[in-house]
Amino acid sequence: MPIRVLEQSVAAKIAAGEVVERPASVVKELVENSLDAGASQVSVETRGGGVSLIRVTDNGSGIPPGEIETAFDRYATSKVSTIEDLDSIITFGFRGEALPSIAAVAVVEIVTCAAGESAGDLVSLQNGAVVEHRSEGHARGTTVTVRDLFRSVPARLKFLKSTTTENSHIARVVSECALAFPEVRFALAIDGRSVLRTPGTGQLIESAIEVYGLQVARDLLDIKGSDDTWQGGNATAPPVVTGMVGSPGLSRANRDYLSFFVNRRSISSRSLAWAVEEAYQGMLMTGRHPVAIVNIAIPPGEVDVNIHPSKAEVKFRDERTVFTAVQRAVRGTLVEMAPVARIEDTTATYTTPPASTRQLWGTVPTDAGATALPMETAHTPIASLPALRVLGQLDSTYIIAEGPDGLYLIDQHAAHERIVYEKARRQQEQRQTDVQGLLEPVPFEVGPRQDEVLRSGYRQLEEFGFAIEPFGDRTYLVRAIPAVLDGKDWSAMVRELIDTIIEGGGDNWSEDIAVTLACHSAVRAGQTLSDEEMRELIRQLEQAAMPRTCPHGRPTVIHLSSRQLQKEFRRI
């Protein structure tokens, strides 16, 4: 094939892919335009995961009539004129790519009315070309309606995730903006349901209540000296760190609750996340992550936001200073303001080991004989366990038992998890769950993103013994729980389940439910067991279908054969 210059429409679609990756990116670009226009109210409406409809309405400055069509030209912007301006960027947009990119892959209609104009203007575009331009009444501000997103780019459409996933991304984008701009009133409606509504009072805590719910917001601490500087977009060096962080008692199973802003631009940064987690060192259990909303106010020249097509990542001129500032501010807040820990029994929480560490499990620190166990497990995948005699407990975590051929060490939590998991699965299949009623129905509140997930799957929770039903906005009512969770914190279990599903994509609810249920109701590591309890645990493990691994795939039993022992003691 000869080398040719691409047709403009093809080139535009390819370029659009960089900026508009998924419906949520369209929402992000449009909302940022609204914020750049100085809007104090932004409302977002989406349907069909953002593919059928995205409509963003604001009361910002609007676009003057003569400039509307130009706005859809590539590299047309009102925010930058010379290259030097890039050093003092305080607006979100500046490259002039968003509107043309969206117009290249969707049907766009814009109605706008600039300040001082008597009537508004309507422009519609298809395939990046203007098909209509006429007068249309509109209050001050701009409404952009995007329809049939990616309809002309089937390849992209094919790669979109389920509607639920796309909705949760949209909810996340709007939530982030709502946190960054507490003084702006945000409203988000997904498929006609009101999902988020912030009051726009300028108080970060009020936005946090709407986004994360009262239960989380209650445990948030103001970062020291952050009372007035959250608003500041153009501070001087050194960087000023503001926002809120969760008290150490508040932790989550993933990093979804870490929000970072640089001059109120939402960014993702592994190293900032790391800086915050470092500040929590020793206060959180391994595998748990903090909740934080952190803004870094820094002179625009100190940061390059132009390294990522959708500006999701930024580069700092002096990274070290920024990270130190974040870490110091968070740590200082925690040390000074964290409530004194109450005197209570602490129990260990189980967390899923990352896949990379799995092969480490089961390694006995001996050389030659060490491989014996994993091989045995591999040869007999559904190996039943021999009859074991309990000898004692080690570290309040492992049961030591004697079998026909040597010593067995059993991880009490993993073993119990396996037992509960199989039982939960069996009961679910036979529709015979053990259910304990609650004395009074308990309301269960979730954030917008969690709500999207829970709404799509709460019925599956019922198969495992929960009686749960939607109860107004982002609230569910729980009337009964699985009997195995009696006396356990079932709400923590459901929250962790939702987080797991957000992380994993949510294609296998019932498996995720069974695993989380087992994890939360199983006996903890660190819990002292009586001889009788240990015998009972072993007896039930012997009857399990797959007694050798826990539902996460970790081994439940380590076997040191008599032969291995003899070898170690140089008896043979």
Binding site: V340, A341, R342, I343, E344, Q432, D434, V435, Q436, G437, L438, L439, E440, V442, A480, A483, V484, D486, G487, K488, D489, S491, A492, E536, Q540, Q543
Partner: protein, 378 residues
């Protein structure tokens, strides 16, 4: 400081305050016990910051003073001493307490009493008195129902409503509710509702001696602390802040079946069934059948089954009024409530398999226990 007392008194006193010594703490001094002269007595104090116990024993005081020393060390040492006179002395400007008894001598390094957390004074506020045997029974019959996990902190406490000459204690853990009413010896001036940590009340129950008749209770004006004043002992505790659920609406007002049954027999049958229920989440199934005629009384069968172990059925005589009823409970909850009742018979009221069951002792009307059933297939 220089004083002497008997080994028995000191040993008993250390045992009394010992329960308030912090077990695991970030504030090391709370592992210590405070010893202070108080006129002609020795005051012992321990606190875990949530609760503080002070106890006074008779002593011959020669020189005033105070010091704190590691509680466990002192307690273990004193308990191993012979029954004799114990001399405690703290040389001026020293932090080492010298303990002498018969031919034993010990020197224990202490920490200045000034560093000991101040024990809150609760002198003003709502004041009342309760007879010890009433309070003891009340605590016993509700405290087991407090929540053990802390996701809803108010439920880890017992709701205490002082009104006129009546005290209503209530505890709930999300699955069951226990409400006990007892008379106050001195009426309160105004209606007051506070939530007392379950651990505190369990401790009060332990501290109330057999030789005492009434106990003095004071709640401070901003309802953050409560003081239990006994003959030689004072217990001050933080109160749980928050609003206790409106529990009166959780008590069913009507029922379709009333079963009157002997407590001891009911308890035995439930315990027996629980052995088989261990595998199956503790599910114990009750079937109450009314008698067929005037002469035959009704019966209640109590059964449990396990997939692997087998099953068991027990039957006891009962007076059954109303329709035949089937309901399943967690056996533990039934055992918990039946074990603390003093009365001979109870009445169990049910409406349907998914509505709460109510247990009340026969012959008194001051106790109500509500248990949520388990939903099972019959």
């Amino acid at each position: 400081m220089k004083l002497s007392c008997t080994q028995e008194n000191l040993n008993r006193g250390l045992g009394v305050v010992g329960r308030a010594v912090a077990a695991r703490t970030t504030l090391p001094i709370t592992n210590n016990v405070l010893l202070a002269t108080d006129e002609s007595r020795l005051k012992l104090v321990a606190t875990n910051l949530e609760m503080a116990i002070s106890h006074w024993i008779g002593a011959k005081v020669e020189e005033e003073g105070d010091i704190t020393v590691p509680a466990r060390l002192l307690t273990e040492f004193v308990s191993s001493l012979p029954s004799d006179k114990v001399d405690l002395s703290l040389p001026a400007n020293s932090k080492t307490l010298e303990v002498t008894c018969a031919r034993f001598e010990a020197r224990i390094s202490g920490v200045d009493a000034k560093d000991f957390p101040p024990i809150p004074k609760v002198s003003e506020g709502i004041n009342t008195r309760v007879e010890v045997n009433h309070l003891r029974q009340g605590i016993t019959q509700v405290v087991f129902a407090v929540a053990t996990e802390e996701s809803r902190p108010v439920l880890t406490g017992v709701d205490a409503m002082f009104e006129g000459d009546l005290l209503t204690l209530a505890a709930a853990d999300g699955f069951r509710l226990a409400v006990y009413k007892l008379p106050l010896a001195t009426p309160v001036s105004e209606k007051t509702e506070v939530i007392i940590p379950g651990r505190t009340l369990a401790e009060v129950n332990r501290l109330m001696g057999d030789d005492e008749e009434v106990i003095d209770i004071t709640v401070n004006p901003n309802k953050s602390q409560i003081l239990f004043h006994m003959k030689n002992t004072e217990l001050v505790s933080q109160l749980v802040q928050g609003t206790f659920p409106q529990y009166s609406q959780l008590i069913p007002q009507s029922s379709s079946t009333k079963v009157v049954v002997d407590v001891a027999e009911f308890l035995r049958a439930t315990r027996t069934a629980s052995i088989f229920a261990r595998d199956g989440s503790g599910i114990v199934r009750l079937v109450a059948t009314p008698g067929s005629g005037e002469l035959t009384t009704g019966k209640i069968t109590i059964s449990a089954r396990s997939e692997e172990l087998g099953d068991d059925v027990g039957e006891i005589d009962a007076t059954v009024e109303g329709e035949e009823a089937k309901i399943a409970f967690n056996g533990k909850y039934i055992i918990d409530v039946l074990s603390v009742l003093r009365e001979k018979q109870v009445v169990l009221e049910t409406t349907n398999p998914s509505s709460p069951g109510v247990i009340r002792p026969v012959g008194v009307d001051n106790y109500t226990h509500v248990v949520m059933p388990m939903f099972v297939q019959w």
